[in-house]
Symmetry: C3
Subunit: 248 residues, 3 copies
């Protein structure tokens, strides 16, 4: 059955950001150790409440409290795989949205196999760069996102591109991981994954553009980006968001 669904606009982006700021969703992150603080800061300044444990003894309690989940495949070992499987099982049983980022699955066969295992469990969203997504062909994810200078989103019925952002994002380790956390926060307040993700990516990309105007390089861009995520207004989003509808 094909259901008629909305196509995302800057209005959705501003509206969902306001909801995140008002409702303060809890986002649990299974995140490599490199970018944990940056991701937690990004979720916090956009309005959510992050948590980060990847301990097997604690994961069930934390996922049970969370409204959405973001999973990043950095620094995988057997323990971490086991913890991620527990987290996904709980999220699926409680119908909580989750996004998986198969980061560097093009570097390591083991990581690719685990990425495919996870994606077969039905994430709400799978998101990667072009090299990663080329390897993720058979997916049960509701929504596929390929990020890059232009972000491409597709749920089979609708296709959308987002042309926001700045080149310095690629020079700051973890901006992709952070945006995965922001997408999770938006999914917690909007069931339509395409609306949620397009809005989150537009807000993130517009914030990056605002930050670049304040910064002198990729170092000062990082705090400026967090400032912009905290301070971005409905007007900023309306002026800057470049969300286009593509044919599927």
């Amino acid at each position: 059955m094909t259901v008629s669904r909305s196509l995302p606009t800057s209005h959705h982006a501003a509206d969902l950001l306001a909801k995140v700021r008002a409702r303060r969703p809890r986002v649990h992150c299974l995140m490599n150790t490199v970018v944990q603080k940056f991701t937690a800061d990004g979720i916090t300044v956009v309005g959510g409440i992050p948590s980060m444990t990847s301990s097997r003894d604690e994961i069930a309690d934390f996922v049970a409290k969370a409204d959405a989940l973001t999973i990043n495949l950095g620094t995988l070992d057997a323990e971490r795989r086991a913890v991620i499987r527990i987290a996904v099982e709980i999220a699926n049983a409680a119908a909580k949205p989750w996004i998986v980022d198969p980061v560097h699955c093009d570097y390591s066969r083991g990581r690719l196999e685990f990425a495919r295992e996870l994606i077969a469990l039905g994430p709400t969203i799978v998101r990667g760069n072009a090299a990663e997504m080329a390897l993720i062909t058979d997916t049960r994810a509701s929504l596929r996102i390929q990020t890059g200078p232009v972000d491409l989103l597709s749920d089979g019925q609708r296709a959308v591109s987002i042309q926001n952002g700045h080149g310095w994002m690629a020079q700051v380790t973890g901006t992709g991981c952070l945006s995965g956390g922001v997408i999770a926060a938006f999914m917690a307040v909007e069931k339509d994954a395409l609306l949620a993700a397009a809005s989150a990516l537009a807000v993130t990309g517009c914030s990056a553009e605002m930050a670049a105007q304040e910064a002198k390089g990729p170092g000062s861009f990082e705090p400026a980006f967090l400032d912009a995520l905290a301070n971005i207004t409905t007007e900023n989003i309306r002026e800057r968001a470049r969300i286009s509808h593509e044919s599927c």
Copy 2:
């Protein structure tokens, strides 16, 4: 036997900060991976020397070299619990001051049980937010601190409140962990835990206020906060510190 003791003032805060800067105490941190660098930077700029290992093979050597210890319960697993127990045993045997932060013990039963186990071992200080401290009722800590917009300190004989700080502290992951490290540095130069902790919290809170004047949001607040901790003067502390004595 009740001993007459000083009540903390801005004079103590400035005096102890000068001692930390002169003596450069070593602070060993058992800290979750999220906030390790921020905490290490905070301890360094205030004048201390941080170390961070949580490896079972190394913990004894590092705690033996340290002048004080800060323990944060993030990302607990069996290995980490074992390491923390070793660290506490060495600290207690050598009468080194230690502070425990039962972070998110209200999220997970396992974390709460471990927090209670630790607190029964007689930390110098237990410090948490209102939700956490409500669960920490039976404590052998010399000093209890409840942090929030107003910090409340009590050692049974004396009660003190600190009204410094800024709302952006809550938007930067790890400011609480960092202030636990700063408290440990102050305990290394002052045996009276209430004087040490009240001074450390006043210095931290005044620095946050100074940083907020320089910053445009929570992102730029973070480096400005480290700048202020490094640059704060006796005069800044005298002008800003709001330390009040409460009835017990």
Copy 3:
């Protein structure tokens, strides 16, 4: 057989930086969790591509893809030792350059023993501060570097000192680890380890001086340092680099 070799100048530093920016070498980092992001950001802004996993299941794939390796002994445990041994074996078999930083080997006997084991395996470079290097007497490294206010480099035939940098580097956790990553990136484009390391340390030190002019303290120094590493020009290097040739 003694081979006549070049002595490094600011010309080499500028030339090798241009090569790093053009060729974008991959640097795999076995790095303690405290400084992973800062090191990754430093490698990225200077022109390289960092990776960070220390999982036993993944290390072989990542080292095989890398052009150079940096190994930091923070937070050592049995698993981490095993992973480092695998990484070194692969690097040696493929003649990839690697640098080892025996950080805090003066704190822990176990760490010192492991540092000595690694250094017997023939790293391209061993680099530490004065206290650490005093314990590393018998080395098969091609190049020894003692870092401090003045950096001293010696490969047995040539000795060089670098007098660049700023005191705030010592107040930002991880600047040494970051510079180890930058040295690895330079080794990936220049086989002569002394030329590579002297150039990398000159670029890093000049960038720190430029950053200090922009910053108000060690907090704002950190993003300014990354900006400077990204923006530093050939002219900046020629004006600032202080590379001296010493008698062996």
